[in-house]
């Protein structure tokens, strides 16, 4: 039999039912015990989830996780079908739970993402009804608001200032991921990056909320010299320092006290900063790359970061 006969014979077989009988392929690399699921959802739905989380004082990620695992929840496809799914929620599940979800979705002949979304919609509707919550969406905090709250919170070292744009970007990214603020981070040359962070920092500096104290009138000599000294001389350039001015701290306090949502947000931001703001910037970068590998995909320094992570700590 020639090679072409072999091919012809294979082509003539009806393979449509064969997949069912194929054995499961072994994992090429050992699977982790947990998996992260990234769900694209309508922004309004995420806002409703957050609201329920606030009312019940439960982190909304935990709520979403509980709904995804609740087989008693009748999946519901609601009004959001035509709405743009421009928000993102990352949920961590035990690997075997994710496998369960996928099996249930396969049985319904639909992608597991859709089943997940429908369960969330159903969970939201049930909780809103149970707690008498009107489904009015809460505004999402903006980057500038997150930035002043971050700089108002104390880091592990006791200081509230943040040195360097890289650290500021990474910390805001972590906050963004935990809050699903959808502020536009994407995988860039050095990991997660959002151009709007630079704009927000610049806006706060211009407004006199970070950096140098500013008067309302013409700049005094002291203001000008402080501005000039922020720039580097012939010596090696030091990373830029981001610290709130007294006006910035006052603005952050006003924001924090403006409503319960921001009070809670400030607590979350403070906790995240204490948890993530490692004294060594490399440690922060390594952790970001490890916990959010999808945002490190385009990184030009992935190999370097991998080496940092293996380096023994003194």
């Amino acid at each position: 039999m020639t090679e072409s006969d072999d091919v012809k014979k294979l082509m003539d077989v009806d393979w449509s039912t064969a997949w069912e009988s194929l054995p499961e392929a072994p994992d090429l690399v050992p699977r982790g015990r947990t998996a992260q699921v990234t769900l694209r959802l309508p922004a309004s739905l995420v806002d409703r989830v957050r609201r329920i989380g606030q009312v019940r004082d439960i982190p909304y990620h935990a709520l979403v996780r509980s709904w995804l695992l609740d087989e008693d929840l009748l999946p519901m496809s609601s009004t959001g079908r035509d709405e743009r799914q421009d928000a993102q929620v990352n949920v961590k599940l035990a690997q075997e739970r994710l496998d369960d979800l996928k099996r249930q979705a396969a049985a319904r002949r639909e992608p597991y993402h859709r089943l997940a979304r429908e369960r969330i919609e159903s969970g939201v509707a049930r909780e809103e009804s149970a707690y008498g919550i009107a489904s009015k969406a809460q505004p999402t905090p903006t980057l500038q608001q997150l930035m002043v709250l971050l700089l108002h919170a104390r880091g592990p070292s006791g200081s509230d200032a943040i040195r360097g744009m890289t650290r500021l970007q990474k910390l805001l990214f972590v906050i963004d991921q935990h809050l699903d603020s959808r502020s536009g981070f994407h995988a860039h040359n050095y990991g997660p990056f959002n151009e709007s962070v630079n704009d927000a920092a610049s806006a706060l500096r211009i407004a006199g909320l970070i950096g140098d104290e500013r008067s309302a009138g013409p700049p005094s000599f002291d203001e000008m010299i402080a501005h000039v000294e922020r720039h580097s001389g012939p010596a090696e350039r030091a990373p830029e320092l981001f610290a709130l001015t007294s006006a910035g701290h006052a603005a952050a306090e006003r924001l924090r006290r403006s409503n319960r949502q921001f009070e809670q947000l400030f607590r979350q931001v403070s906790e995240l900063r204490r948890d993530w703001d490692a004294s060594d910037l490399n440690d922060l970068v390594v952790r970001v790359y490890e916990e959010y590998p999808e945002f490190a995909e385009n990184s030009l320094i992935r190999e370097d970061v991998a080496k940092w992570s293996k380096k023994p700590k003194p």
Partner: protein, 407 residues
Amino acid sequence: MLRVRQTEDFEYARPGLLDEILINANLLEFRPDSAVAAVSTASVPYSIDPLLTQFQLPGWWMNADGTLKGNHYLRLARAYFADTGIDLPTTPLVSAVGGRDETWVRIAANVVRYQRDRLLDIRPQLDFFGAELRPVRIFAPALVAFGPNEDRINRLLGSAASAAAGRPISLPVIVPVDRLRDPVDVAAVLEGVPTEGVAEYFLWTPWVTEDLLLADEDLFANVLTLIDALANRDIQVGHLYGTYLTLALRDVGITTFAHHLGWIDKGQPAEVTEGGARSCQLYVPGIRRPARFLRARQMGRHLGNADYQDLFCNCTWCVGLFDAGHHPLDLMLEEQTIPWGKGSRQTPTSRATAANTWHFLQARRQEVLAFSMSSSSEVIANDIDRAARLAGSDDRDRLTRIASTLA
């Protein structure tokens, strides 16, 4: 008016140093939050230069490899060319639009709407917002007037913008150097410039530097003819990229003056790009013009406080440095050696550039005030006297030439 072209410029936009902020539209798209913060905190009026010229030729918005100079150009193009069927014009804009006048009318309406609403569209974030976010003037979109076709389109854009704004507009008159050399062309340009619905003209002569004007008498004469003819229409005339010479033309008819923070006069070609090295490489703002570091050192470093203030500069910045026990030029002429290709080069330090920028901004403000309060001939005569007393200055001859030309 201070023209802001790059992010750092916003930090210099402070009350007392300018009367109005003129924001480049491409920068506004790049740093929208910074623009709102600057306008809200500076407590001065603002307007937006729409810079339609950036899309006139593809090479002005794209890099040599065909990539975008930045996503902000894409956002700007979407605002300007909405409902026209044009995305980003990958051919010259004139051919992308073709002969469809209704498309130019649509573009004019879009550009007017952009100026009127863009800052209001930016989501308020913190409580420093709340200032008046309406622009104080609306510019008509305009093309560099390379020839009669652009003259006709500019006329159309001007009247359409005025209709869309519902009020008289500021009309840029952008004449390149080649046409300025020919009096017949200048007359043709003037004939095409409308008067109806125009609050003021804003002249811009790309590629025409101060040095070129002083070296070419015919060119200078044609520019004066253009200004004079526009001013005689009883409509105010401003300049979009002013220099010392532009201020000196106040007696001829220039009444409004926009300048940016780069102190090297390049004539501001239309394809001016953002980023890169600031145009102050080894120059410091001197007596009404930039001076190389070496010359500035020769002119001013030996001067004590009183002589320096009398002859070189008495702005708040320079006086403050003397009061703090430093010679201003020690900081403003600070330089460093950086690797450059296989070798190295001298460049100002970052803080020297910042210091020079404060000095330049304040010195230019003093120039504006001087020309507002005295005649051009008096101001120039005073500057000639200062230059003559400064060892090493070569400004005397140049200033004398300006004075004699204007006389």
